[in-house]
Amino acid sequence: MRNPLSRTIVEIEPSGIRKFFDIVNEMEEAISLGVGEPDFDTPWHIREEGIYSLEKGRTFYTSNAGLKELKVEISKYLERKFGLSYDSDKEIIVTVGGSEAIDIAMRAMLDPGDEVIIPQPSFVCYPPCALLANGTPVIIELKAEKEFRLTAEELKAAVTSKSKLLVLPFPNNPTGSVMSRKDLEEIAEVVIENDLFVLSDEIYAELTYGEEPHVSIASLPGMRERTIVINGFSKAYAMTGWRLGYACGPGVILEQMLKIHQFAIMCAPTTSQYAAVEALKNGDKDIIRMREEYDGRRRYLLHRFREMGIPCFEPYGAFYMFPCISVFGLTSEEFAEKLLESEKVAVVPGTAFGRGGEGFIRVSYAYSLEDLKKALDRIEHFVNNLRK
């Protein structure tokens, strides 16, 4: 029998710490600080709208790009929050989570040999998606000294004649790092100079803390026509299981993305789309409530890590801390394994998000303050023992 498998897919490495994940997921008694999704339930008025749509029998396909009403609301939302303007007819596609949007954007934009510049540590899907789209991932390892922001120098150094697309994953999972307007302006300059495109994954945009609100690179001069903005409902509205995201960008690119979406997916889940309309219409207050709660936990966690003498920069986005544990002479994986073994606390080794994450762990604060406190007490006990 012939080999049934595609060489491309076989060559893609599975996540190296799968084994660790499996152990944790089966360990009932472990306290986990390892999740990448909100601890809040989807606000009730949004769930209600989903239920209502089922009661009304709205169980059919929607048009490929999504419900018109939803696209109109997305367009209004992006304008209201980030000063972005997209034509709801031609420049927005509703997708199955932000992940699908990332996938189809890469497929629509890459030809074999095109290089995709991916800053790491970052979410795990960019390099595999680039490979599946026949692109070549080029990794930039972000530096802790720069608080894991991407600098124009780093970008310049990574650009070659084959570079086509830059992935911009901010606010960042796993570091919590954000890019200021000034940071983005410097990046935009390099992007325009080198005729690159940007895939700006802004799924955590609403979870930005501190004085400066989230800035989308697409809102900078000359960048709209070069940028695909990815966003969605998972993080902002605590709707991970509804699987609903969207991509916005220039019509010429979206038109091609829509073809892939049309043939592979048809349309995003109808129930979720109806619920999402309600989220956008009446959910601003939910975002504020959840953000304030995350913000309090963020301050608490930062305080605890610093009190323990574990270096940690102040993250202004998402719901993660990325403390540096290299002082203990263990690798990230060893640290995470030992912590799990001796204290039954699960965190994610920084290396799960790229080699540049070595020496760090990702600690999620999508947990109640009481849970965080319990887990942090155990971590403190653990590091005190390591120091002995």
Binding site: S15, F20, F21, V24, N25, M27, A30, S32, G34, V35, G36, E37, D39, F123, V124, N173, D295, G296, R297, R299, Y300, H303, A346, V348, A352, F353, L369, K373
Partner: protein, 160 residues
């Protein structure tokens, strides 16, 4: 700042002062001063515990009594309310818009105890015109808290 402190402690009054300060991003002295000031101003009227008595096996009966009254000259409703709220068995008294005047919430050990209070204490008050007693059969949510068992965290323990 006051609103932030109040919003937080309304749901969790047992939080340690130092922790509250960290969560709110201010120093402990500020929180302490504000708390003391608000206690003095009677903005913070107490730190109570929300109890689901049903689960204790201890018998309790709660009634919500709609009361219609004649307001007294010069004193309006306040004087009448005072005569009602001074009874220790009265939990809460609210002046209400609509078909009646006061909502009186009463807690007793038995139905008999409650009805006795209504017939012997409340109804005979000179300004009380009528009462309508509604017994609470089941408490689903109280003070913003759902009484059913909290749901378990069903998220996978680790996700990227």
């Amino acid at each position: 700042m006051r609103e932030k402190i109040l919003t937080f402690i309304e749901k969790n009054s047992r939080i340690d002062l130092k922790e509250l300060a960290i969560v709110l991003g201010v120093d402990s002295a500020t929180v302490l001063n504000e708390l003391e000031a608000m206690e003095a101003e009677h903005i913070i009227c107490g730190y109570h515990t929300l109890i689901n008595w049903e689960k204790t096996g201890i018998e309790k009966v709660t009634a919500m009594i709609e009361v219609r009254v004649t307001p007294q000259r010069g004193m309006g409703f306040d004087k009448v309310a005072e005569r009602i709220y001074n009874y220790p068995e009265v939990e809460s008294v609210y002046l209400i818009s609509g078909g009646f005047d006061f909502m009186v919430i009463l807690e007793g050990r038995t139905l008999r105890e409650v009805s006795q209070f209504v017939s012997e204490k409340l109804s005979p008050l000179e300004s009380v015109l009528s009462t309508k007693t509604n017994f609470i059969l089941k408490k689903y949510k109280d003070h913003g808290t759902i009484m059913a068992e909290p749901t378990r965290d069903e998220r996978m323990k680790i996700t990227p």
